[in-house]
């Protein structure tokens, strides 16, 4: 524990301030070709034909790849978890989002590669796109072309993520007040200072050395190996220095296409997104549509919650089911609500596929929950912090997923925040602790959800090596 509280130099601090940190775009390998991609100009369209003949004849062009050149084109980011594949590396029969890559060129300069991209001839039949998650599953929505239709279907036996706890009907029957709210956090681009970039170098041994800005080295290695149908030991990934990622460099954006081009050309290939490409075509945090209904008593208890969440996956699933599952875990926020019915759907639209960003799936639900808590307080005429303290998680409380709280921080953190802000609280609230509920803080409706006394310690010991 010598590091805790000590002032230690950053291991990469000196390199950062002397300009010596080597990011992927700073790696120089002799003979490197540049990659540019042909991307879909349409949100949704059938591809009638792709003709690369003119582009191939252009000066400086060394390789061109389309879906026909990918050994295993359709891949799923959650295949390791048993979720079937749904996303092509390069579009084949159709395009489902504006910016989806269709073909890629490796040429002697970025300008030559771009010129060749513009010479590739693609014929499209445009289709009506679906751009709003709220209406994506409506009966009168435009036709869906995803293999699973509008709704991602693989949550065990269900087509959506569910949380069920207690008796939500009884809670709503017993409520003095029902408070409803709709919350719609928007898509957000990660906008790292370093755009997506990789450099793939074919080695004389037949291996590929892949310089990558990925946040997830072994994951990216698996993705490239799957598309190429190569064993992992033929791929050497070099990474670890990321010029900002924030979740946006978890999806594998450039490595596989660069690898295919490098194999075809037998030359190193680099692809770095322009800032425009980064904004328009790299994955974003998802837009969400969240509806919350709370059953509330006049003295400030939240008796039950019904929640419907629609998560916009964009055109393909990627990690969306995982993000929605985390969202579901957190749908009561930092508060104990004993009667719950949560239904969360992952929906496909014709937007750029969405992905992780700083608290994947949780920031959206936290926004909705905290706005809703303030709305409940407002409608009750109650102080918003006092409502939070009253309903705060306590030792021995259980979450929607039956996790027993052994060290919940809602009360001390809320009190500390109130202190820091000079916020006045009633005496009873100021004296609150995270301790196990009793007396006035253990009303009838919270008895059944409480774990037996001591169970939180048993859980803690079991998960912390005997409580050392």
């Amino acid at each position: 524990m010598k590091a805790v509280g000590a002032r230690l130099p950053r291991y990469d601090g000196i390199a950062h301030v002397t300009g010596r940190t080597q990011y992927v775009d700073d790696v120089r390998v002799h003979g490197t070709l540049w990659c540019k991609a042909l991307r879909s100009p349409h949100h949704s369209a059938r591809i009638v034909s792709i003709d690369t003949a003119k582009a191939r004849a252009m000066p400086g062009v060394h390789a061109i790849v389309t879906h026909q050149d990918v050994p295993h084109n359709v891949y799923g980011h959650l295949e390791a978890l048993g979720v079937p594949a749904d996303e092509p590396l390069l579009a084949a029969e159709d395009v489902r989002w504006k910016g989806q890559p269709i073909a890629a060129v490796a040429a002697e300069s970025e300008a030559a590669a771009q010129a060749a991209v513009e010479a590739i001839e693609v014929t499209f039949e445009e289709r009506e796109p679906i751009l709003d998650v709220r209406t994506a599953a409506d009966p009168d929505a435009p036709e869906h072309f995803h293999q699973w239709g509008a709704i991602y279907p693989h949550f065990g036996p269900h087509n959506h993520r569910r949380v069920r706890k207690g008796d939500v009907e009884a809670a709503f029957d017993a409520a003095d007040l029902i408070v409803e709210g709709v919350y719609r956090p928007q898509a957000i681009e990660h906008a790292p200072m370093e755009t997506q970039v990789s450099l793939v170098v074919p080695e004389p041994s037949g291996r590929l050395t892949i310089y990558s800005c990925t946040q997830a080295m072994y994951f990216s290695m698996g993705v490239v190996a799957a598309h190429l149908q190569w064993p992992l030991n033929k791929l050497k990934f070099v990474g670890g220095t990321v010029g900002g990622g924030f979740g946006g460099k978890v999806d594998t954006a450039t490595e596989t296409i660069c690898a295919l081009l490098a194999i075809q050309a037998q030359r190193p290939v680099k692809w770095r997104f322009t800032r425009e490409e980064e904004f328009l075509t790299s994955s974003t945090r998802a837009p969400w549509h969240i509806e919350v209904r709370d059953a509330v008593s006049s003295d400030g208890w939240i008796l039950g919650r019904r929640m419907l969440t629609l998560h916009d996956a964009g055109a393909y699933a990627r990690f969306s089911p995982y993000g929605l599952t985390k969202h579901a875990f957190h749908h009561t926020g930092a508060y104990t609500i004993p009667n719950l019915r949560f239904d969360g759907f992952v929906l496909f639209t014709n937007r750029v596929p969405t992905t992780a960003m700083r608290g994947f799936g949780v920031t959206s639900v936290s926004l909705a929950v905290e706005l809703h808590m303030s709305r409940v307080a407002d409608q009750l005429g109650m102080d918003p912090l006092e409502l939070r303290l009253k309903n705060a998680n306590r030792i021995g409380d259980t979450t929607g997923n039956r996790v027993v709280m052994h060290d919940p921080s809602t009360v001390p953190v809320t009190l500390a925040a109130a202190d820091a802000a000079g916020y006045e609280l009633g005496e009873a609230y100021r004296a609150m602790t995270p301790d196990r509920r009793s007396g006035d803080l253990l009303p009838e409706h919270l008895v059944a959800q409480q774990a037996p006394d001591g169970e939180h310690l048993a859980t803690y010991r079991a998960t912390n090596g005997g409580g050392r």
Partner: protein, 177 residues
């Protein structure tokens, strides 16, 4: 054309409208200036041209013929940091580091302007237009303020409890330092 970079004179053969950033990175292999946006919006490519901070991604190399260009590589070495570099290192003002070169060069220009007792508000004004997407602005402003004031002595651990100091400026959302 002639270009002096970090004290070394180079003969450059690029077309006159090639950006200085491209010449530095792709021809001279001086890679500390970064291609963050290549449209003058992020500040990561900032270098000193005859002592003035300039966005090298917007500057045609033909416009700086004969100039003295300074990048981070021209300030200090790992075992002999310049004052600005030491302040950034000491104040943990670099996270991912991609914006750091630009911030360091803009700070170097401030130091060379020699205002000495600069206020935090002036630092924020002077560095407007430099983006740090890790949003490490508080520590960057700490480092820049210290560098311009000439205070690069090692900080002790207790300083971390109130790194902003008495003259803290509230950074408003939407108005990055």
């Amino acid at each position: 054309m002639r270009l002096t970079v970090n004290g070394t004179e180079h003969q450059v053969v690029a077309p006159a409208l090639t950006t200085l950033l491209h010449v530095l990175r792709e021809e001279l292999f001086v890679t500390s200036p970064k291609a963050g946006c290549q449209q003058g919006g992020c500040g990561a490519c900032t270098v000193l041209v005859d002592g003035q901070p300039r966005r090298s991604c917007l500057l045609p190399v033909g416009a700086v013929e004969g100039a003295q260009v300074t990048t981070v590589e021209g300030l200090g070495a790992p075992d002999d940091l310049s004052g600005v570099q030491a302040a950034f290192h000491e104040h943990y003002a670099a996270q991912c580091g991609f914006c750091t070169s630009g911030f360091v060069m803009a700070t170097q220009a401030l130091v060379e302007r020699g205002d000495g007792d600069i206020e935090r508000e002036e630092v924020i004004e002077a560095l407007g237009g430099h983006l740090c997407r890790c949003t490490g602005y508080v520590k960057i402003v700490d480092a820049v303020t210290a560098a311009v004031r000439g205070d690069t002595s090692p900080q002790d651990a207790s300083a971390d409890t109130d790194p902003q100091g008495d003259d803290a400026v509230t950074l408003l959302p939407g108005s990055p330092a």
